[in-house]
């Protein structure tokens, strides 16, 4: 890439250098129209990152408008660093999910680590203390050497960063499917806790106020990262390694403490993370939101390397940097706080009345642009959409039941599928306990974080079964939200809202854009009916390589409130003698199921049907029963159906077993992935009350103390296995594959 700053504007146009920055000919023309002149090299670079998909959402914006993002408790919807929802007592929860897919494909350790760093800054730049991290990961099949390498290094990267900053990584999910072979997904979610009066915004208001740069100095790393994230990966992507940033979690830890100290000063006006597109996006967005302008002298920007030109300084994505706007004359108070932590904080500019973005270096103006043109006048594309041909064909297919010869053997095989198998070898590498609030550790449907000094807790989950979205985008979008909400409800919490991590292929492909449209539509409808507003999110496009697109993957990060610790409900069976119930009827639905993958080696047909009204009603009934203390354990039925859920419920070292009866087709009863179902246990003396409260619950068996997994179908023994053997297979599957 050309990095010479003395290329004149004529050359930028004539040699079409802007194309290398990711701008189209039309976009370049639009820039010329806005400026009434040619942009220089730096200015073209600034436009290119601000108008990249990553910063401007230029192709996804029309879809994102579909999301319901407001609700009574929503204090901050999309548009700031992260969404904010009221949780009572003057407190609020702050959360967001972000992707770091392309960097992780090229440099998995640092790609994943800086993904964690970035999402943390989005949360603490709001003034919130980060209290939990989650992640949602996708890889190819765990059989190739490259996938093993990517998987292990991504996990190391998340651990390396999260452990050091002292924020517990409390859970997440991992799926393995061919479509992610070349293009893994790394989505990280951060949850923070804040008192209402501490909520900060990224605004540059007050003409004359001072712009302060704080944190790590700027280097030549991550230049054009936002643009790199907005093109397809290719075999040459390795050459883009300089686009990947390198993180320093120690610096981040200091930055967290300094920023959380600074927010208590009334000298602070606004604060924003320098994330994608670095200094460019933070400064111009803060000004644009406040209706002001900013002038900055780049000579004052702390620099890690000599002779950096304005293009490099403005486009660098060096990590652990913050931009603050501070009341004029009170800079030193703020600088002192950063210096206590050994961090640099330097006045680099000023808020101006003229709504322009004016940059100087060595006494010369190096860029002079209208601020709103960068943030708000980005082009919006309404892409053509076309129903994917394969989906049409899948819709014509009849629901068939895969053939199962030996149910015990099939259960064992399913428990060893990497997507279902225990992820303990992953989360054991994460410090899941620091801050001493993790009352439900990783490995449950939701992680639960108590709030010290209060009788309440937050339930957090990330979910997305992209197989359903692939075979039926609209239904799959609904299921992603419904499943997340089920996981939240199972822990005894009321779902509050969600953050979305949308990961798709190349949107210029009409079939991919159609997948986007349909799945976002499904997700929006589910979010409306289940009353979980979408308060923040992230879009990652161009997740394809060599022409092959990933499964559309709409990661749902959901947070719920447990209003009293008495309502906290485990996923696992608790005591012998408890009655086992399934809530919801089961139909023969195997499209996109784990069983289909194991037996037929593919995903096809119709996705499981979902009626969102039924879903909402069942969630409400279960939630009410939990609050009436009628439920001993509750678990969502997901991949692998009832068979897998029953097994997971006795994997808890209590020596428990179970006896259950199933009726009808045993394959359907055990392995169908029909939606809106729960597995719960109830004390025998509360049977009548429970059945009155939960109308669609059907008793299927009893928890035992004999350590046997015993299933009878139509009165004959179908499965008779030792729980310990099943447990060992489930626990050992991934470590075994990694050897």
């Amino acid at each position: 890439m050309l990095l010479t700053h003395d290329i004149n504007p004529e050359k930028v146009e004539q040699e079409k250098l802007y194309r290398g920055m990711g701008l189209s000919d039309d976009e370049f023309k639009k820039i010329k129209d806005i400026l009434q002149r040619r942009p220089n090299f730096t200015e073209a670079g600034i436009f290119s990152v601000m108008w990249s998909e990553h910063c401007s959402y230029k192709t996804s914006k029309p879809l994102l408008k579909r999301f319901p993002s407001y609700g009574l408790n929503v204090l901050q919807g999309p548009g700031e660093g992260a969404g904010v929802i009221d949780i009572g007592d003057g407190q609020a929860v702050v959360f967001k999910v972000e992707s770091h897919n392309h960097p992780s494909a090229v440099e998995p350790y640092h790609g994943a680590a800086t993904g964690v760093g970035g999402i943390l800054r989005d949360v603490f730049s709001m003034g919130a203390r980060p209290i939990a991290l989650m992640n949602s990961l996708r890889f190819g099949k765990l059989t190739s050497g490259r996938t093993k390498y990517l998987f292990q290094e991504v996990v190391h990267g998340i651990a390396g960063y999260g452990n050091c900053v002292g924020v517990p990584t409390v859970g997440g999910e991992v799926q393995f499917d061919d479509s992610y072979e070349e293009n893994p997904l790394v989505n990280a979610m951060c949850v923070g806790l804040i008192d209402h009066e501490d909520i900060q915004k990224g605004i540059a208001s007050g003409v004359g106020n001072t712009v302060i740069y704080a944190g790590a100095p700027t280097g030549r790393d991550g230049i054009h990262g936002a643009t790199f994230a907005s093109v397809d990966l290719s075999d040459e992507s390795g050459e883009d390694r300089p686009s990947v940033q390198v993180g320093d979690p120690f610096m981040e830890k200091l930055l967290i403490e300094a920023c959380l100290e600074v927010i208590h000063s009334d000298a602070l006006v606004g604060m924003q993370d320098m994330g994608a597109a670095g200094l460019t996006s933070s400064a111009s967005e803060m000004a644009s939101k406040a209706g002001t302008g900013i002038v900055m002298n780049l000579d004052f920007v702390p620099q890690r390397e000599a002779d950096m030109n304005p293009y490099e300084l403005m486009l660098s994505e060096s990590q652990e940097r913050m931009l603050l706007v501070v009341k004029q004359g009170r800079e030193q108070e703020i600088i002192d706080v950063f210096e206590k932590y050994g961090l640099q904080a330097v006045a680099v500019g000023e808020v101006t009345e003229e709504k322009s973005f004016l940059l100087k270096q060595h006494g010369e103006v190096v860029a002079h642009l209208p601020v709103d043109a960068l943030a708000e006048d980005a082009p919006v594309y309404h892409m053509p959409a076309k129903e994917a041909a394969y989906v049409k064909a899948f819709q014509q297919m009849e629901n068939t039941i895969p053939y199962v010869a030996d149910y015990g053997a099939m259960l064992k095989q399913l428990l060893q599928q990497p997507t279902i198998a225990s992820k303990e070898c992953v989360y054991d590498q994460y410090d899941s306990m620091v801050q001493t609030n993790s009352i439900v550790p990783p490995g449950s449907d939701s992680a639960v974080i108590r709030i010290k000094g209060m009788d309440k807790a937050l339930a957090i989950t990330t979910d997305c079964n992209s197989r359903y979205i692939y075979i039926d985008p609209e239904t799959g979008g609904k299921i992603a939200v419904a499943e997340a909400a089920r996981n939240i409800v199972c822990s005894g919490a009321r779902p509050l809202g969600l953050t979305d991590g949308l990961n798709f292929g190349n949107p210029t492909n009409p079939e991919v854009f159609w997948q986007m449209q349909q799945s976002v539509e499904g997700m929006s409808e589910a979010a409306r009916i289940l009353e979980t507003p979408v308060v923040s999110g992230n879009v990652s496009l161009y997740n394809q390589s060599n022409g092959k697109s990933i499964f559309p993957t709409l990661v749902v990060g959901m947070v719920g409130l447990i209003e009293s610790l008495e309502h906290l409900t485990p996923n696992f069976f608790q005591a012998p003698g408890d009655l086992i119930y399934v809530i919801g009827e089961t139909k023969a639905e195997f499209g996109g199921s784990e069983l289909q993958n194991v037996v037929e080696g593919t995903y096809q047909g119709k996705a499981p049907f979902i009626d969102l009204q039924v879903e909402a009603e069942r969630q409400k009934q279960l939630f009410t029963a939990i609050r009436q203390d009628l439920v001993q354990s509750a678990h969502d039925l997901a991949e692998g159906g009832l068979g897998v859920a029953l097994a997971e419920s006795v994997f808890n070292d209590k020596g428990l077993g179970l006896e259950a009866d199933i009726f009808g087709n045993p394959t359907t009863a055990l392995f169908s992935e029909t939606q809106s179902r729960f597995l719960v246990t109830v004390k025998p003396h509360q049977q009548r009350q429970f059945e009155a409260a939960v109308t669609e619950a059907c008793q299927i068996g009893t928890v035992t103390d004999h350590g046997k997994f015993l299933i009878r179908a139509n009165d004959e023994t179908l499965i008779d296995e030792d729980v310990q053997i099943l447990h060992n297979l489930w626990e050992g599957a991934i470590p075994c594959l990694l050897k």
Binding site: P249, F250, K340, Q429, D431, T436, P441
Partner: protein, 227 residues
């Protein structure tokens, strides 16, 4: 009894330690920033876990050379109790207040889970409330907890009863299954497992609470005698 929780840049279990002694045990406690520390008025010093100075150079190495260490040494020489947990233990080793070094875990990965420990010496000011040999459960969370010392040092530790906690199922390769050791004067304890993470049943274990209770009761006894 008044506790100082020393905070270095990069400490991240400081607030957990503070919460345990202040809110759960109801003691007086302060978070003491490493630069502004006068430890004279404190009865016990707690060195919390985390990644002081980003673990750069070696875990605990830079913190062990920081200014506050002089006061911590003086506190140790005065016979007052010092507890170093995880990174705090690593700092005590680097400072030479305890013998031995830490190596990366045997399997080279960070690990975080509950481990079973045996109380190998219940006659220290930190452990009198445990029964000798009692198996307790405390969380570990470390990447470099593989304790190493030469044979001479190990036999001295054994001979002087300085091994306080041992792992029941050694997770990290530590010599002699060591999870925690005390100095020969019996007032400086270093341990990799986190007692401050196990002071409330809600968190999965409250086996750590007796360590703090031991410390408080022994201090009270001594104080009552001296007074």
């Amino acid at each position: 009894m008044k506790f100082a929780v020393i905070v270095f840049p990069g400490s991240n279990c400081d607030r957990d330690m503070y919460h345990a002694v202040k809110n759960v045990l109801g003691m007086e406690a302060d978070l003491v920033w490493h630069e502004h520390s006068n430890l004279e008025n404190y009865d016990a010093v707690l060195l919390p876990g985390g990644f002081s100075y980003g673990d750069y150079l070696r875990s605990g190495a830079i913190a062990s050379a920081s200014g506050v260490m002089q006061q911590i040494r003086a506190h140790a020489e005065a016979g007052k109790p010092i507890l170093g947990v995880c990174n705090g233990f690593q700092i005590l080793l680097e400072a030479g207040l305890l013998p031995g070094v830490m190596l990366p875990n045997k399997h080279l990965s960070f690990m975080c889970h509950h481990e079973a420990l045996a109380v190998a010496n219940h006659e220290t000011p930190f452990t009198t409330n445990y029964e000798q040999g009692k198996v307790i459960h405390l969380p570990i969370a470390h990447g470099e907890g593989n304790y190493f010392a030469d044979d001479e040092t190990l036999s001295a530790l054994k001979k002087n009863n300085q091994i306080v906690f041992t792992y029941e199922n050694n997770p990290n390769g530590s010599a002699a299954d060591i999870a925690g050791i005390i100095n020969s004067d019996g007032n400086v304890l270093g341990m990799m497992p986190h007692p401050e993470r196990a002071v409330e049943k809600l968190l999965g274990s409250d086996d750590g609470i007796r360590l703090f209770q031991s410390l408080i009761e022994n201090w009270r006894d001594a104080y009552a005698v001296n007074a």
